[in-house]
């Protein structure tokens, strides 16, 4: 791995020179620019700023207050939409928690109680058995029992009601958009950047406009959830439909399918297994939104997490957080089982009861527990006296770690701060912005030609002209270091996971939990141990962004053609050589994509780390949210998205070239 043995390629020489020049500029840039009276290169002048903030805010105001479609205003239209969405939501919510009520307040008459906890547990267990096996039924029932036993039932049912609305909306919406993207190339071309933005603009940035348009409450939270969770479904749909074998398509044409039949009777069913990957992503991302949704009136488990942590009741926060994880596991396993369930098993019997044994039993249990619940309250609502909690244990644990190990943590932290974090931050802030814009543009040109170069140039200049350069540099510094460390931990873990099945299971469980557990749950203990500041933020980002680095590495190594590894063994490679000379280089394109995803997650975490006091673009978005400043939030959000897009395009282009060089494409 030494450079000495090889000849420098022109590009490598260029980047080496650029790096040296960067160090020189960081050290002397300020004095040099001052000498030639070019201070604008160090700090973008306020007078040159593009007043985009104010323009967006004004446009929003106009949209909310002025726009009129002859019969109704724009706001009336969006409010009407909100009302429409609220109906099914209210229905499901009443069904799961609260019951059906006519009238309000004192006049309220309960028409029907909600489903009893026993009925819900039975229904999900029956679904588990129907979809796969007793084992799945037990797992799912166990998950829901956790919610009851730990006293999280009502909150969990509130959360579940929004998930049950958001997921079908996200799936159907994503499916339709994906099909449209598959059919019409032009639509696809508009759709792709829109999806990029939906995934990378932090949710806090568009919460305020959503609140303006759709009003306060669960429906706005629902809409924000759908916007955030839908993009993977769209992408997966388009890809899955393109991947349907041409034989199937040709056959459909031969038997004379109409276009509609072709889509719905042939393509979509043929692509179902891939489509289910999208469904799974929608479920996971919807559950990721639970905390943020609770900030604008969705309530439920997210609210429990927030209010527990506000009391510093770490254990209660953790229990509520795990309730979210448990809900995610149950829904994920169920949806996967339904997807893999092979075909319909038609029963020959003509009797309705024997043909639908599950439907009938479930109906009986629902009715039975409902009726019995009228007389025995414990059958309707899980009795509060039978709930358990482990909260004191966790609080004591954090406390004793804090007392016993704080000094060691502090020493490690100070070392990192003084030797790595602070110098990098100073370096990033000392570089003149035109220099970095130039480097990004050249990188774009090298990896993807003039198109990518123009994109990099445009997006990075956007950040500068909106006066966000300094915040963007702090963002890049924090994310860059976190991603580097996440890669250093994640790649070896990914390799470990491919070595044996046991390790694979443990690593898989840990990273799955880290991804679904709301980051706020571990953010507060991290603050207790490391104080408020960049270091605490960095740890939280690493924990959250670790997963893709592990997954893609493992995936990349597993997908290597076994013959190539066989060849390595035959020619007498040691294990070490096998890893470094064969597995790693061949898995490199996949690993790069994993790093790419790690960057995306790290950027999306910035808004959360703003809550422990970082001073970057995430904080800017958060401040804009609390001040209800639409323009400021969207512009800062767009800046984060643009950093993500630049990183994504450069890395993807790099990975594609590497793949080509290795002859894998």
């Amino acid at each position: 791995m030494t450079i000495a043995g090889r000849r420098l390629t022109p590009w490598a020489a260029f980047w080496l020179a650029a790096a040296i020049a960067s160090f020189f500029l960081a050290a002397h840039g300020a004095s040099m620019t001052a000498a030639i009276d070019a201070g604008w290169a160090m700090q973008y002048p306020a007078a040159w700023r593009w007043p985009l903030n104010a323009q967006i805010s004004a446009a929003m105001k106009w949209l909310v207050e002025e726009v009129h479609f002859h019969f109704f205003t724009f706001t009336e239209m969006t409010r009407g939409l909100a009302w429409l969405l609220k109906q099914p939501y209210d229905f499901i919510r009443s069904l799961l928690v609260g019951g059906f009520v006519r009238g309000l307040g004192r006049d309220a008459v309960q028409l029907l109680p909600s489903l009893s906890w026993l009925a819900v547990v039975f229904i999900v267990a029956a679904m588990g058995y129907y979809a796969r096996s007793w084992r799945l039924a037990l797992l799912v029932a166990g998950c829901f029992l956790y919610l009851a036993v730990f006293g999280k039932w009502n909150s969990a049912m509130v959360t579940l009601s929004s998930i049950l609305i958001a997921v079908p909306l996200g799936v159907v919406g994503g499916l339709l958009l994906g099909i449209a993207g598959y059919r019409w190339r032009t639509f696809d071309r508009v759709l792709t950047p829109a999806l990029d933005l939906m995934q990378t603009v932090p949710i806090f940035a568009y919460l305020v406009p959503i609140l303006f348009l759709f009003g306060f409450g669960p429906v706005s939270a629902l809409i924000a959830t759908v916007i955030y969770a839908m993009p993977p479904m769209v992408r997966v749909t388009t890809l899955a439909l393109r991947a349907v074998p041409s034989e199937i398509r040709d056959f459909a044409v031969m038997v004379g399918c109409s276009r509609r039949q072709m889509t719905w009777k042939v393509l979509v069913p043929a692509a179902t297994p891939s489509l289910m990957v999208g469904v799974n992503q929608v479920i996971m991302l919807s559950l990721n939104m639970v905390i943020i949704a609770s900030m604008i009136g969705a309530g439920g488990l997210g609210f429990e997490v927030l209010s527990s942590l506000r009391r510093l009741d770490i254990g209660a926060g953790l229990e509520a957080g795990i309730a979210i994880v448990v809900l995610a596991i149950a829904l994920d396993r169920l949806s996967q089982a339904f997807a893999q369930r092979s075909g319909y098993r038609h029963s020959e019997s003509s009797n309705y009861l024997t043909r639908h044994p599950w439907l009938v039993t479930t109906a009986l249990v629902v009715l039975g527990t409902g009726l019995a619940g009228l007389f025995v309250p414990a059958l309707q609502d899980y009795p509060a006296s039978a709930t358990v909690t482990t909260a004191p244990f966790w609080s004591d644990l954090v406390r004793s770690i804090n007392i016993a190990f704080f000094d060691q943590f502090e020493a490690a932290k100070v070392f990192m701060l003084v030797n790595i974090l602070m110098p990098v931050k100073r370096f990033m802030l000392a570089l003149p912005w035109p220099w970095l814009v130039l480097l990004a543009t050249i990188a774009g040109w090298q990896l993807g030609g003039w198109r990518l170069a123009t994109l990099c140039l445009g997006l990075s200049v956007f950040i500068a002209v909106n006066g966000l350069w300094e915040l963007a540099m702090v963002t890049i510094y924090l994310c860059g270091i976190s991603v580097a460390i996440a890669a250093m931990i994640g790649i070896p873990l990914g390799i470990l996971a491919t070595e044996n099945a046991h390790a694979q299971r443990i690593v898989g469980a840990v990273i799955d939990t880290l991804q679904t557990l709301p980051s706020f749950v571990y953010l507060i203990p991290v603050v207790m141990l490391f104080r408020v500041g960049d270091f605490a933020a960095m740890i939280a980002v690493i924990l959250y962004a670790l997963a893709p680095a592990v997954r893609y590495t493992a995936h990349g190594i597993r997908n290597i053609d076994p013959q190539l590894i066989e060849a390595g063994i035959v020619s007498g490679c040691t294990r070490r050589q096998l890893l470094w000379r064969i597995k790693m280089p061949l898995a490199m394109p996949e690993i790069m994509l994993g790093i790419n995803q790690t960057i995306m997650l790290a950027l999306s975490m910035l808004v959360i780390t703003a809550l422990v006091g970082t001073r970057d673009l995430g904080q800017e978005v958060y401040i804009a949210l609390t001040k209800a400043d639409v323009g400021r939030g969207l512009v800062a959000g767009a800046a984060i998205a643009f950093i993500a897009i630049i990183a994504d395009r450069l890395i993807s282009a790099g990975a594609a070239r590497t793949r080509q060089r290795l002859g894998l494409a």
Partner: protein, 316 residues
């Protein structure tokens, strides 16, 4: 005063009869009045008490969870109607902006007074005997210093969004301190809890009424007392060239709401305006919920039964 109390009691009794009987005054509108809930216990208690009182008055009430500052979007449009705690110290700017639009109205004081100031745990006094006088702070900068801030002392300030002019205060008073902003309330008190467990020195922003005041023993730093001139006039105070050379203002906690409440539910509007509760009462209830682990509903119910006379009078 005495007689008005008796009248109040009588009225209360009548109101109770009305609640018990069928001939209860109909509310002006059956639509639910939406009160916002935030994520700290004191506010949940205040809001739940108000909700219970309004229910006794025959109103339909809905409690909606909302972010402290983001809720103004809803208050302006009438999506939500009442916010029971808007602190002079942190919410003033947003509240003034909203009231200026004419769609939001100040419903008066809650009776509680917000205190926000630099604070330290009592055990720090051993290491820095000159406290709580602010002039002792510079001598103790090394006590509060950490590796990142040394040789300066470290002061953990509130989230940037809360304002508070601490950066300006440090400069104006020539304090040898660095202001580090916590991102949220939870992070702020997480650090306090952590330091308190280790008996480590810490200097931070604390506010009252809050459970930290009850749980931890400590004192406010005594800065020169705040006056409006101190913030507006640089000449005022020890530093002739800079404003903010004084402590933070103390001020009421306000009730705010949608301007349409007055016309839609006049009775409820009056009850909300009349709502009044003291810092001590609130502190006791916060302690019961956050420190003793009592159920919030039970604490609110206790208050309701003990103060029937008071809340009945609000409903007139």
């Amino acid at each position: 005063m005495r007689s008005s109390g008796v009248v109040g009691a009588l009225a209360g009794a009548v109101a109770c009869l009305a609640v018990a009987g069928t001939a209860m005054a109909e509310p002006e509108s059956k639509d639910p009045i939406k009160l916002t809930l935030h994520d700290w216990s004191g506010q949940l208690i205040t809001t739940n008490i108000m909700a219970e009182v309004l229910k006794k008055g025959g109103y339909n009430v809905e409690l909606v969870q909302a972010d402290y500052l983001a809720q103004f979007t809803g208050l302006k449009t009438g999506d939500v109607h009442v916010a029971m705690e808007m602190w002079e110290t942190t919410g003033r700017e947003a509240m003034d902006e909203a009231i200026a639009t004419g769609t939001v109205e100040n419903f008066g004081e809650t009776g509680m007074e917000a205190v926000e100031e630099w604070w330290y745990p009592a055990y720090v006094k051993e290491k820095c005997p000159g406290l709580p006088n602010w002039e002792a702070l510079n001598d103790c900068a090394d006590v509060f210093a950490t590796a990142e801030t040394a040789p300066k002392g470290r002061y953990l300030g509130a989230p940037v969004t809360w304002g508070g002019f601490d950066d300006e205060r440090v400069e104006a008073l020539g304090l040898n301190y660095e202001v580090v902003h916590a991102g949220t309330d939870a992070a702020l008190f997480a650090e306090l809890q952590s330091a308190y467990d280790r008996k480590a020195p810490i200097l931070l922003w604390v506010y009252a009424p809050h459970w930290a005041q009850i749980k931890f023993e400590g004192e406010w730093i005594e800065f020169p007392t705040y006056t409006p001139e101190c913030y507006s006039d640089p000449a005022w105070g020890s530093n002739p060239d800079m404003a903010y050379d004084c402590g933070k203002p103390r001020g009421p906690i306000w009730k705010v709401g949608w301007a349409g409440v007055k016309d839609k539910w006049p009775g409820a509007y009056n009850a909300i305006k009349a709502f009044n509760i003291s810092n001590d009462e609130m502190a006791a209830m916060i302690a019961a919920v956050d420190l003793d682990g009592a159920a919030l509903d039970a604490v609110v119910a206790d208050w309701m039964s003990e103060n029937e006379e008071r809340w009945s009078a609000w409903l007139e």
